[in-house]
Amino acid sequence: MFIVDDILVKPFVSVLDILHTMALNEMYDTAAIRDDLKENQLLYEVGERSEATYEERKQELELQLEMAEQIQSQMSGRIEVKS
């Protein structure tokens, strides 16, 4: 539905572009990565995750977040996908 809307509104943006942007949005969903960071912290605090696993996961997620923020800021304003 939104694709049809977008195609009507923005005839010069291809369906492929929109799908590509949606995929990137999902892959670089900063809110979801922040939630994962909070979950990692919580599982460590309640003793379900060892310090080593917690630190490793934290570093991994922080990297992902940094990358996602960069990608999101580069993408912003290029193509807007309504959901």
């Binding site: 922040r34 939630d35 909070k38 979950e39 919580l42 605090e45 309640v46 379900e48």
Partner: protein, 214 residues
């Protein structure tokens, strides 16, 4: 040397000094008074401190010490990063925000915030809604107010902050023990605090007030 002051929170006017690890390596925590209010502060050499994990931890630790100071103090917590040019600027802000701060202090007088998170284990197919509402009922009866926080993990079935009268603290502890006893096989309970009542005061001190002075 800079006159900048980092602010942790606001209490009823009182002269307090603490030896504690504050933000940006500060070790002397003291108060700056304005009429019936006092700001809990430490010296700092910037008005824009870096938000690092240790700095946020130091901010929270100082607030924790204030709420437990000498039998307990009521504090309106500032969010991390509120640093002012000097005492004069800070007092100017306190003057502007005084009605809101006074009313917040009255609202939370004699209370603390306690945090409760309840997680299900991965395998458990629990009747989540029923458990949520039963736990909520058990904790509501011993608290003044509650706020619902984000369920940021699929494992979380409850994430709430409770405003509890200091006098009722042990009753709340008992209620948590009851929850653990009743549901401990199926859930993990994380019980934290006491915290300053972050989730029960809503005061915004704008950037203009913060840096501009008067």
């Amino acid at each position: 040397m800079s006159d900048n002051l980092y602010t942790y929170g606001i209490i009823d006017d009182e002269d307090i000094t603490l030896d504690a690890d504050g933000v940006a390596g500060a070790t002397d925590i003291y108060t700056v008074s304005y009429r019936s209010l006092a700001a809990v502060v430490s010296d700092i050499d910037t008005t824009d401190p870096d938000r690092t994990d240790p700095a946020v931890e130091a901010h929270n630790d100082v607030l924790q010490q204030i709420i437990e100071y000498d039998g307990g103090r009521t504090v309106v917590p500032m969010s991390f990063g509120m640093a002012f040019k000097n005492a004069r600027t800070l007092k100017g802000v306190l003057r502007g925000a005084r009605p809101a701060l006074r009313s917040a202090l009255n609202d939370i007088e004699g209370t603390v915030e306690l945090g409760v998170k309840v997680l299900t284990s991965d395998e458990d197919a629990l009747a989540e809604t029923a458990v949520q509402s039963e736990i909520t009922d058990m904790l509501n009866s011993v608290s003044i107010n509650e706020t619902e926080n984000d369920l940021f993990s699929d494992r979380l079935i409850l994430n709430k902050s409770y405003l509890v009268d200091r006098e009722e603290r042990s009753a709340f502890d008992d209620a948590i023990d009851d929850v653990k006893e009743e549901y401990g096989e199926h859930v993990t309970v994380q019980y934290t605090g006491p915290w300053p009542p972050y989730n029960f005061v809503d005061i915004h001190i704008g950037a203009e007030q913060q840096h501009g002075g008067r």
